[in-house]
Amino acid sequence: MSTIFDRLRGRRLTGVGTIGLIIVSLVVILAIIGPYISPHDAIQHNLKARYAPLGYTDPEHGTYWLGTDQLGRDILSRIIAGCRVSVIVSIFAVFIAGSIGVSYGLIAGFVGGWLDQVMMRIADALLSIPFIVLVVAISGVVGAGIVTLILILGFTGWVTYARVTRGEVLVAKELDYVIAATVVGQSKVRIMFQHILPNVMSSAVVLAALQVGVTIIAESSLSFLGLGVQPPSVTWGLMLADGRASIGSAWWMTTFPGIAITIVVLGVVFLGDWMRDVLDPRLRGE
């Protein structure tokens, strides 16, 4: 891992990469200190200012720059508060999915033979169910909530990592120094972890960066459908669900949370693309 950061550190950021880094840093900072700097309390109702339009100023509570929702809660503050759920869910879910996927691909590719065949058939079967259908069905059975959501996204999102890692392992197995290590008589476990794993990590890290965006969208989709994070937690997906209920009267309730998601996902993708160009140019175009 440390070598990956070393390799990233020396590289100059591209224009797009810089934008990505700024957006991602901003979201992480907001996730940590958001509630302290947001203009209003994200969950406080103000029934005198329900559906207040953009820039509405309430004599008691001040200005609602992006308007309010059906309970008079400040949209801007809720968007800021929503950063926290997005960051927490995406980081943990991607970490779980990545760990499972890399281990899975490492074992399948390294051991090979019938085990590889069986493992990859299972992966194919999982991929044949559209991701969102799978996640929706499981959360319908298991129930909702942040922790459950992280576990579901983590335990279903690993297949891509497994396939990429397996492919990389098959290449790495044929490298001269890996063959040399085998000839010298090093144990299989040591070869797997010391020689092969470092070779496949950069692809996995790049993939993880790009999967963060996918996970953020999946989280908001599930929360939007009422199958993910539950109120009173504040998430962009739940805000969009509220917005949909008032779609004829308060366009701002729907517009701004969606813009927030789009900007954050774009930021993540920009940063991920830059990391890919530095760490793993071969993945370009996939």
Binding site: A125, L225, G226, T254, P257, G258, I261, T262, L266
Partner: protein
């Protein structure tokens, strides 16, 4: 060719077998599925009676055997909320989802292929930059949010289309645009890079040096080859469309399979969820089988063993 088809169908059967295991165990993730199915007001005896009626008191292996032998005949059990066969409900909704996915795919292809080809032919031109910016935006944007925005602009403000529901062809426009543009964003990048790859090949130089016109070279030689990876991606993209339909159908209240899944989950009608998930997987696998077979038609170099 015949042998290839047989072996592909064999693979398909194995994959569907694993899918059936997934679908079977999916509803047992929290142990006994009766805890999900039983209405909250049921007392212990009623729950126990329900458990026996559904056969959940039997050993797991036996339960699976019953499940799979019925599933291959298309019987996924009765829907609890509709009092009819779960598979029948799924079949009833299937047509609308295929219609939506098909129209979306056509919209996606019609937008993405020409734009991708032009981007590659005029690389780094303002057109190329604009298309790739739009493609980035389209992939980053949550699909259902785009749907909500379309509703606000075209249904609420302009009143051109109905807000929700299924009311003839007019109701199809917004959901299909929503899914189709999302697909176009993904597909246009792919077309562009496939076209760039094709333009680099030796046969392109040969074709040009034979004195063929630029348009003939680009269309007959480059585009035809560029389409091969595009068709591969199309199979996966149709899977994405089927998945996307779940949430887009909910946004537009389009009464297809995706909406049925969400409705059934909310009323805990798990046999319907199982049957629907099974169909999603089967559709996806069949689409990709067809795509693989299409290869040999587009690319005579592919010799199927």
């Amino acid at each position: 060719m015949a042998r290839y088809i047989v072996s592909r169908i064999g693979q398909m059967v194995i994959t569907m077998f694993i899918v059936s295991l997934l679908v079977f165990f999916m509803i047992r993730l929290k142990g006994d599925p009766i805890t999900i199915m039983a209405p909250p007001h049921f007392n212990e005896e009623q729950v126990e009676a329900l458990r026996r009626a559904w056969g959940f008191d039997k050993p797991l292996a036996e339960q699976y055997w019953v499940f799979i032998t019925k599933a291959v005949t298309g019987d996924f059990g009765k829907s609890m909320s509709h009092n009819t066969g779960a598979m029948g409900l799924v079949m009833g909704r299937l047509r609308l989802t295929y219609l939506l996915a098909g129209v979306s795919a056509i919209i996606g292809i019609v937008i993405a292929v020409p734009l991708g080809v032009l981007s590659a032919l005029y690389r780094n031109s303002p057109l190329d930059v604009t298309v790739s910016a739009l493609a980035s935006l389209g992939t980053a944007m949550p699909n259902f949010w785009l749907g909500l925005m379309l509703i606000i602009v075209f249904s609420v403000q302009l009143r051109w289309f109905p807000v929700f529901g299924h009311d003839g062809i007019r109701s199809l426009v917004l959901p299909a645009t929503c899914l189709g543009t999302g697909m176009a964003a993904r597909l246009s990048r792919l077309t562009r890079s496939a076209m760039l790859e094709a333009l680099r090949q030796d046969y392109m130089r040969t074709a040009r040096s034979k004195g063929l016109t630029a348009s003939r070279v680009n269309v007959v030689h480059a585009l035809r080859n560029a389409l091969i990876p595009v068709v591969t991606a199309l199979g996966l993209q149709l899977g994405w469309l089927l998945g996307g339909s779940v949430i887009v159908e909910s946004v537009f209240a389009w009464p297809g399979l995706g909406r049925l899944v969400i409705e059934s989950i909310h009323v805990r009608d798990i046999t319907v969820v199982q049957a629907a998930v099974f169909w999603f997987a089967l559709s996806f696998i069949l689409i990709n089988l067809i795509v693989d077979l299409l290869y040999s038609v587009i690319d005579p170099r592919v010799k199927i063993e």
